[in-house]
């Protein structure tokens, strides 16, 4: 190919060449970091909660008389009976918190009472024998709780919870040999351990912040009804009856007792709403990064079109001479494509270095992960193709310059 004449021609418009290369480099650096951020956020948002989320909803129920919460145990049982009897409801349980809720109770889990460093910071979910069926979570080892194990639990009592079910990830962390059932764990008391009676399949904790990701799938299920100001009901509607069940359940609770406050705005939420709330920042960030990348690529493409058009206009006479001397249209076309590929290639090389630099800075500043080479390659390919695409129209115009132009004065 005619690389040497291209280089000679470039020397005549150094500033333009450098500017285009620099713009490509900057765009590449920003776009591949943006792509990487999008990928990270999407991975976070797409990770499974372990819960069968369709047809599931939750009610935040606050007891109006918070001075007498020590006595709400009987009311919770009556509420659950009423909820489970509804025609539109498949199953229900009462709890303090649930996966993806964002807020909740978490405890350090220890293998020995004198252990100084935590093994895990696990979510504590209060549950009963209906919990696994309501959430649609399978038990992979051991047994479920029985209805008689769900006692009233006060935070005041420091006695260990005798039996617990733990999530698969916590079991793997605490008992790497794979036999968790029957083993002791110190969850809420140093005096005596709780005994693991079952292990669930994947189950996400309430915590969705990025900084506690190592513990995101660690959960401890405790049988019992926690006596506190707020009780949450998690309810599975019969398939297709979600809206009806949400209406019925709220009405059933108010019929049971009026001494409760259910926020009219967000007291009753579908699990889809819970999920959207948990990841709203990630959605927003991924969307923003996507828009910025697209606009950036468009601007860079427009810049290439503009500058190349100018070069074509400037060189009409030279193109005409070349055509008159026997160069084919394809020769002219490939000249501009090659020129663009060379400038783009330089830009991409500088851009990759810049991208890695920016990523390194973000790793230090924003606790970001290291950029994977794949994104650099994808972004580099996108930019090279974009450059070729952008240059095509002006290059085609150049190839149509007639040899007669050589004879005309400029």
């Amino acid at each position: 190919m005619q690389i040497k004449p291209i280089l000679t021609a470039m020397r005549h418009h150094k500033a333009g060449t450098i500017l285009i290369a620099f713009q490509i480099a900057l765009t590449l650096a920003i776009v591949c970091n943006a792509l990487f951020i999008i990928q990270q956020r999407v991975t976070r948002v797409m990770r499974p909660s372990g819960v069968e989320e369709a047809n599931l909803f939750a009610i935040d129920n606050q007891w109006a008389d918070s001075a007498s919460v020590q006595n709400v145990g009987a009311q919770i049982r009556a509420d659950l009976t009423a909820l489970r009897q509804l025609g539109s409801v498949q199953d229900a349980y009462a709890t303090n918190s649930f996966p993806l809720r964002g807020w909740g109770w978490d405890n350090y889990v220890r293998l020995r009472p004198d252990q100084v460093h935590r093994t895990s910071d696990s979510a504590i979910f209060f549950t009963d024998d209906h919990t696994l069926a309501t959430l649609g979570v399978k038990l992979i080892e051991g047994r479920n709780f029985t209805s008689s194990e769900a006692h009233d639990v006060s935070i005041k009592t420091l006695a260990a919870w005798p039996e617990i079910i733990i999530s698969k990830d916590l079991a793997k962390k605490t008992f790497p040999d794979g036999h968790a059932v029957g083993k002791p764990l110190y969850v809420n008391s140093d005096a005596s351990p709780s005994v693991v009676v079952g292990v669930t399949d994947t189950l996400q904790s309430h915590m969705t912040d990025s900084d506690i990701t190592p513990f995101a799938y660690d959960a401890v299920l405790v049988p019992g009804y926690l006596l506190q100001g707020m009780t949450r009901y998690v309810i599975r509607a019969r398939p297709g009856q979600l809206q009806a069940a949400m209406r019925d359940a709220k009405r059933a609770l108010v019929t049971q007792s009026r001494m409760r406050i259910i926020d009219p705005k967000d007291g009753v939420r579908t699990f889809a709403q819970v999920r959207a709330k948990a990841y709203e920042r990630d959605y927003g960030m991924a969307m923003l990064m996507g828009i910025v990348s697209v606009v950036l690529l468009a601007i860079t493409a427009a810049g290439i079109v503009g500058l190349t058009s100018f070069w074509v206009g400037q060189r009409r006479k030279q193109i005409g001479i070349r055509r008159a001397l026997g160069a084919t249209r394809a020769d002219i076309l490939s000249y501009f494509l090659t020129e663009n590929a060379m400038i783009g290639g330089c830009g991409v090389i500088v851009g990759i270095l810049l991208a890695l630099g920016i990523n390194l800075w973000m790793v230090m500043r924003f606790e970001m992960a290291h950029l994977s080479g794949l994104y650099v390659l994808i972004a580099a390919a996108i930019l090279l193709l974009l450059g070729q695409g952008a240059v095509l129209a002006p290059a085609l115009r150049a190839s149509r310059v007639s040899p007669v132009e050589a004879t005309r004065p400029a």
């Binding site: 920003i30 109770w105 140093d190 503009g306």
Partner: protein, 434 residues
């Protein structure tokens, strides 16, 4: 002369509308994106109490056991009841207030309004003078009410409008959690942002609607909301929080001078040593004394995503600028022949340079104006987001001026290199080439 330059610039810009439009659009988008994100950052990292925040401090001590202890570990963000009450009663600072948040069931007297949960702050008397909280009607309670666990309440202007139609409600009764509280004060407009004194109910949350003496809230078993961190065999039950090894209270002090602040820090160390010697604190003294801005910085109330977005937008602006430099250069060079003629006819290099700069300045100004509109649109979009700081995203005069400054500087910068290159053309060479 300037008006002549301006006419020349307009003439030249009109000649190639697509190119001009592209340059204006690129600058506008870069400016719009940068100003949107910079404005959000500006509002979020603002000083909640300008002029006063430097003398307000947040003391931290470390009463925990040795679990997870290591060098340079930060003390907990809050205080336990025992330590909080001790520091409050010690009165070593000019003013001090202990506080925590909660949601209180409120039963309005009117049957037309349903019972609802009011956001509450349980605090002590110094809170109001220390933060210079303005009163519309009545006034704050004093230490006597703190000591007697008096059932008095100060309400926000917002709640007063809702329940009493904005009338003076001092002396009236408010039923909170089935108990009658006497209204003794109604606040004026008070919206410190970030919500610095209590970050656990949302860093940019609305202000509380009811303010109740901390002593009375404990007496009435009012639920505390926010964060409770316990260690050892601690449990977070609301009714036993006074004795539990848990931190759940925020404490602010006012210290006028740096000497006072240093003395207060010594006092905290001394207290920690005493408690350590007595066996209550297992860790060696570990104290911090941050002022408002340092505390907000430490709490990272400005989301890191917001900072990331600013950098992204600035990078975007940079690409837009490089793009404009390239296009401007090609535009100027394309008309190099004309420039040569003008030089040959006697225009000085300086005059040409000025004319070309004028051209890029016009592009920048128009781009900046459109960019400002884009920024306003961007901020409107931010306000539609469900985040708690969304409603704060408004442009103020400072940011408005900054936008214009940025636009003009950016485009002059973008015009500098092309103008300099173009006006250096030797007239003879250009004429000969033609």
């Amino acid at each position: 002369m300037l008006s002549y330059y301006f006419r020349m610039a307009m003439h030249s810009l009109k000649r190639n509308k697509a190119l001009t439009g592209l340059m204006v659009l690129a600058i506008a988008m870069g400016i719009g994106a940068s100003m949107t994100t910079l404005t959000v950052l500006h509002v979020l990292s603002g000083d909640p109490l300008p002029g006063r925040s430097g003398s307000l401090y947040y003391p931290q001590i470390d009463p925990r056991d040795m679990a997870d202890y290591g060098p340079n570990v930060e003390p907990p963000d809050q205080l336990s009841w025992i330590d909080g009450m001790y520091l409050l009663k010690a009165k070593r600072a000019t003013r001090q207030a202990l506080m925590t948040g909660g949601m209180v069931p409120l039963q309005p007297a009117q049957s037309s309004i349903y019972p609802f949960h009011a956001m509450a702050l349980y605090t002590s008397a110094d809170f109001f003078p220390m933060f210079e909280v303005p009163f519309q009607y009545g006034n704050a309670w004093g230490s006597a009410e703190d000591d007697s666990k008096a059932r008095v309440v100060v309400i926000s202007a917002n709640l007063n409008d809702k329940l009493f139609g904005g009338q003076n409600s001092v002396g009236k009764t408010l039923r909170l959690q089935e108990t009658a509280f006497r209204i003794i004060g109604v606040l004026g407009a008070w919206h410190p942002q970030p919500h610095f004194y209590q970050v656990y109910m949302g860093s940019y949350a609305d202000e509380e609607d009811v303010f109740i003496p901390l002593s009375a809230s404990r007496d009435q078993h009012m639920d505390h909301a926010g964060e409770t961190d316990c260690w050892g065999n601690g449990g977070g039950d609301n009714n036993t929080l006074e004795h539990a090894p848990c931190v759940w209270l925020q404490f602010w002090v006012q210290l006028g001078t740096a000497q006072q602040a240093a003395a207060y820090k010594d006092f905290l160390v001394h207290y920690s040593q005493e408690q350590h010697a007595a066996g209550r604190f297992l860790r060696p003294p570990n104290v911090r004394l941050r002022n408002v801005m340092q505390w907000l910085d430490y709490q990272q109330v400005v989301p890191s995503d917001t900072r990331l977005q600013v950098w992204l937008a600035l990078g975007f602006l940079m690409v837009c600028l490089v793009n404009t430099v390239g296009l401007m250069l090609s535009k100027f060079m394309r008309h190099a022949g004309e420039l040569g003629v003008r030089r040959a006819l006697g225009a000085s290099q300086r005059a040409l340079f000025g004319q070309l700069l004028m051209e890029s300045g016009v592009v920048g100004l128009v781009g900046g104006a459109i960019g400002l509109l884009l920024a306003l649109l961007g901020l409107w979009l931010v306000r539609q987001q469900p985040t708690d700081y969304a409603k704060l995203a408004h442009m103020d005069t400072r940011m408005l001026l900054a936008t214009f400054g940025l636009a003009v500087c950016a485009s002059l910068l973008a015009g500098l290199l092309p103008a300099w290159r173009a006006c250096r053309i030797a007239p003879a060479l250009q004429l000969k080439a033609n």
